[in-house]
């Protein structure tokens, strides 16, 4: 277990260093912060002075070193546009994105698992066929079209749920601007999280069904039947636990897709989260913010991947001893 964690940590460090180099290179090479900060009218002397003050005339390595040192202390530079530390700007948008992602994941788990299991237990049933048909259509509809459709039906035609913004938020312990504790915030959450969930759902329904069908064919399930266990126990304890193993792995891989999808969703619904901020920062050439976003997303990545591995280890008893396998 310890070697496993150490390996993971090493890999995480490696990935973070790569991301930080990329982030730094962006910050270093992109746009001219001086022009951004002073506008077109400033004299060249003033510019030179500011360049010196910002340390923009130093060599690449020493600049990177400064960047890395700052990054470890939580200083990822100052946003040109907000004139605030980039990390603070991003972290202030983190709750919105996390709530959106969390709701979507919850929806996926709550809906995809029973659907996949149902379709696996009863593959010939008309409902399962319908489910598979819908999910194969869903697989072919890009997320932004799902979102557009939802907006059209629920927002424009029926005006059930708002199509942009986050609505009211509540302050939780002064740390977290939450939208899930009041009605307006929840109403705003419906469409974005739904479209995110719908985009991810078909993959998981199909995957759970395929894995479950394979597991149900196995000898230990037949043995479980021969022991006279109840159907519920067999499906939801014996089969589902085995089905979950590959699903967890794929779930970990999908984390990247989730981040990309949140960017799309947030852009469509103007959801004031990190993805929307990122797209804004790109169009404003606010390089410190872009770089900081990459660092934060990289960090989230590393954390989720490690978490996924840990969960996998908890579910799969064979990992505990044979940790060298990973």
């Amino acid at each position: 277990m310890l070697t496993f964690l150490l390996r993971r940590l090493l890999q995480a460090c490696f990935v973070m260093i790569i991301i930080s180099v990329i982030s730094f290179a962006i910050q270093d090479k992109l746009g001219d912060p001086v022009q951004q900060m002073m506008g077109m009218t400033a004299s060249s002397d003033d510019r030179q002075q500011l360049r010196e003050a910002l340390g923009l005339n130093d060599g690449f390595v020493s600049q990177y070193w400064r960047f890395a040192k700052g990054a470890i202390q939580g200083d990822l530079g100052t946003s040109y546009y907000f004139k605030e530390p980039a990390l603070d700007v991003i972290l202030s948008k983190l709750p919105a994105t996390l709530e959106l992602a969390f709701c979507a994941i919850l929806l996926v788990i709550l809906v995809a698992t029973p659907c996949g299991v149902l379709a696996a237990i009863n593959p010939k049933h008309i409902l399962s066929r319908l489910l598979m048909f819908v999910s194969s259509i869903g697989l072919s509809v890009p997320i932004f079209i799902v979102a557009i459709l939802l907006v059209y039906v629920f927002s424009i035609e029926h005006n059930v749920a708002p199509s942009f913004g986050r609505g009211d938020t509540t302050d939780v312990f002064g740390l977290w601007q939450s939208g899930i504790f009041n009605k307006d915030g929840l109403r705003h959450l419906i469409l974005p999280s739904l479209s995110l969930a719908i985009a991810l759902m078909p993959i998981f329904v199909r995957l759970i069904r395929a894995e479950m069908m394979e597991v149900l064919q196995s000898e230990y399930i037949r043995f479980a039947w021969s022991k006279g266990l109840s159907a519920r126990r067999i499906y939801f304890v014996h089969a589902l636990k085995n089905t979950m193993l590959p699903i967890i792995t794929v779930g970990g891989i999908q984390a990247g897709t989730l981040v990309a999808y949140t960017i799309l969703t947030e852009t469509i619904f103007q959801w004031p989260g990190m993805g929307y901020l990122f797209m804004d920062a790109v169009s404003r050439v606010d390089t410190p913010l872009v770089a900081a976003y990459l660092m934060v997303v990289g960090g989230i990545f590393v954390v989720t991947n490690t978490l996924v591995d840990l969960i996998y280890g908890l579910v799969n008893p064979t990992v505990r001893l044979a940790s060298h396998g990973l």
């Binding site: 259509i137 932004f144 079209i145 557009i148 424009i156 891989i253 990122f278 797209m279």
Partner: protein, 312 residues
């Protein structure tokens, strides 16, 4: 009775093409998907001939005629599918858009395939450290999701070269970015096939006869891994087109003057709220039908070429 699990798709040979063709004729849905795909390809190829208006014509854009609904609603004989916000004939724009989307998709997948096949062959054939390193890279690349990487790179390009310059080369940049980010899928599959093929005697025989490793790889192993490549190729074209559309939708892809299906949808979305649904919906449907056909075809190929699924 248990059978050994067959993970790999059987090698492709002359008779396998017959197998595919005869299977296609037997399966109506797959046949339909193929016809749809061929139809799209033809339309894309012949867009300049088929389209009622010429995109290059400066007269093409006429703000006086903007937002005309499709013919069955407006009764306007000139525009079958209506016009968009800039007064362009929607049918012509969609035809050209399909042409662009398909070109980008196919070219990007060609790059993916070339890169993936080379890396996969190398990893599988040489094994050991090279294999380990290449597959680690593939893992990292996969865990970052191609969309994410593409978004970041395009964002960087766009800020680096400025909007105008970027738009000029948008197509090439898109092809490169989508092409360079999804190679691991090909590489992994090829590697798995190569590892399986390597066990077989003919590879040893070829080596004993003193045939160089590159020749063994390309002339002997590669032809036998064609089935999985074909399956991935089909599905990846669909994915690449979706990726392109998504990127264009985010404003990181094709510009409005040279629209792909994605940028058409993106543009149309803004006019949804004012009631001009057709600008958004018709390109969306065009895109969905294309993707669905490709996915169906890919799924069918996989099922058809994979003996493991014969049993079900």
């Amino acid at each position: 009775m248990k059978y050994p699990r067959k993970e790999l798709i059987q090698p492709l040979s002359g008779s396998r093409w017959n197998h595919i063709v005869s299977g296609l004729i037997g399966d109506k849905l797959a046949m339909l998907a193929l016809i749809v795909f061929v139809f799209y390809c033809l339309v894309a190829l012949l867009a300049p001939l088929v389209a009622p208006f010429d995109m290059a014509d400066p007269q093409f854009m006429d703000l006086m005629q903007s937002d005309i609904p499709p013919r069955w609603i407006s009764g306007d004989e000139r525009f079958l599918l209506g016009t968009d916000a800039q007064g362009r004939d929607l049918l012509s724009v969609i035809l050209y858009g399909t042409r662009l989307s398909l070109t980008i998709g196919i070219c990007a997948v060609l790059i993916q395939a070339t890169l993936g096949i080379c890396i996969g062959l190398m990893a599988g054939y040489f094994g050991g450290r090279i294999d380990n390193f290449l597959m680690r890279c593939a893992d990292i690349q996969l865990s970052f999701s191609n969309m994410m990487v593409a978004i970041v790179f395009l964002a960087i390009f766009q800020s680096m070269f400025g909007m105008a310059y970027f738009q000029q080369f948008a197509m090439i940049i898109l092809i490169l970015v989508i092409g360079l980010t999804e190679w691991p899928l090909f590489a992994r599959t090829i590697r798995a096939s190569v590892l399986a093929e390597k066990q077989k005697e003919y590879v040893d025989a070829a080596r004993i006869m003193g045939i160089g490793s590159r020749r063994v790889m390309f002339r002997h192993i590669l032809p036998n891994t064609l089935s999985p490549i074909l399956v991935i190729f089909t599905i990846q074209i669909a994915n690449a087109i979706v990726a392109e559309a998504a990127l264009s939708f985010l404003g990181l892809g094709m510009p409005a003057t040279q629209p792909s299906l994605g940028s058409l949808i993106s543009e149309g979305f803004a006019y949804m709220f004012s009631g001009s649904w057709w600008i958004c919906v018709i390109p969306s449907v065009t895109l969905i039908v294309l993707i669905m056909a490709m996915n169906l075809l890919g799924d069918w190929l996989r099922d058809h070429l994979n003996p493991r699924t014969y049993k079900d």
